[in-house]
Amino acid sequence: MARTLINVKKTLTRGEAFEIRLLIAHPMESGQRRDSNGQVIARDIINRFSCTYNDMLVLEATLFPAISANPYLSFWAVATETGSIVMTWTDDHGTVQTERVEVTVSA
């Protein structure tokens, strides 16, 4: 399960504020539920998320177990230069996923 939906406007004008929206397919298992045998189901959540725009940090977040499955993240940035937006997140299994979106900025 490495499905992600990312929505970013690809062509921007300098100074424009734009929204970055993403939906990540992830179970976000809270670690507080038990299976049918009474065993605790191990916690498995995305615990860290960061987003950079041309290597400049836009957002860094620590996520907690109360967030539902398939989390939806939305935040804003201001268009400066043509370049790439890189989103990286890590889950409790240590899986790191990186997604990249190229944006074109005109004057």
């Binding site: 499905r3 992600t4 939906l5 929505n7 929206r21 939906l23 397919a25 976000m28 539902s68 499955a69 398939n70 939806y72």
Partner: protein, 232 residues
């Protein structure tokens, strides 16, 4: 006189079916309205991949050619002598690896018909199946001794606990249900409802389930396909 006419227009229970969308609450509606916020689109993306990898496109071409198909299902199959669901129809063409994959295919095929009115054909030889499904809908069952109609016809719009009772139309399936935190089928929803009245749910692929789904499809005539819908 006009007052009386208005009363007549408003009062009949099933004059125009009411989509569960209207009872879902503003947050769920907002999620459904925005394809980038609707988590069901994670399955839609997977469905597009499967459409290619399972070779559906070999015969059908682009998935966009499936427009209108989901609105006609469940469809009466004269050879089998029973209604078949879209999932069952897909399964006769291709071995779909698992239920998540099937949901993904149903989502992407259903999406092509979004906005089209449901068009279930209950004429001719299909009529007995419709009648059988209707009888099941009105049959009391389970320890609570409730029929589907007791709540979804008679008490629709009232409350069960804190939740509004919807009319129970199948126009948005597969749905992303917030309670499930996942995409789920109509069969899953029916199973939950039947277990809720403490009856024994019908087996997957059973004749009863096929007839009931067929009746539900016809009962929702006038509504448009909303697949993939978001419900609480």
């Amino acid at each position: 006189m006009i007052w009386l006419l208005l009363l007549l227009l408003v009062s009949p229970a099933q004059a125009q079916p009411r989509s569960g969308y209207l009872d879902a609450g503003p947050d769920s509606r907002a999620m459904q309205d925005d394809d980038t916020a609707n988590p069901a689109f994670l399955w839609v993306e997977q469905g597009k991949v499967l459409w290619g990898s399972l070779g559906c496109g070999g015969c059908h071409g682009d998935v966009a050619t499936m427009r209108g198909v989901a609105a006609r299902y469940p469809k009466y199959d004269a050879v089998l002598g029973r209604p078949v669901s879209l999932a069952r129809r897909i399964a006769t063409h291709r071995a779909v690896p698992d239920s998540e994959d099937m949901l993904a295919l149903l989502a992407v095929i259903g999406l092509q018909s979004r906005g089209l009115p449901l068009a279930i054909d209950i004429s001719g030889p299909a009529r007995p199946s419709y009648e059988a499904g209707k009888a099941l809908f009105h049959r009391r069952q389970g320890q609570l001794n409730l029929a589907c109609a007791n709540c979804h016809d008679d008490l629709a719009g009232r409350h069960l606990g804190g939740a509004v009772i919807p009319e129970g139309h199948p126009n948005g399936y597969p749905i992303y249900r917030l309670e499930w935190q996942a995409l789920g089928s109509l069969e899953r929803r029916l199973r939950q409802c039947v277990v809720g009245v403490r009856a024994v749910p019908w087996a997957d692929g059973s004749r009863e389930l096929a007839d009931l789904e067929f009746f539900l499809g016809a009962r929702a005539a006038g509504l448009v396909v909303e697949t993939p819908a978001v419900r609480p």
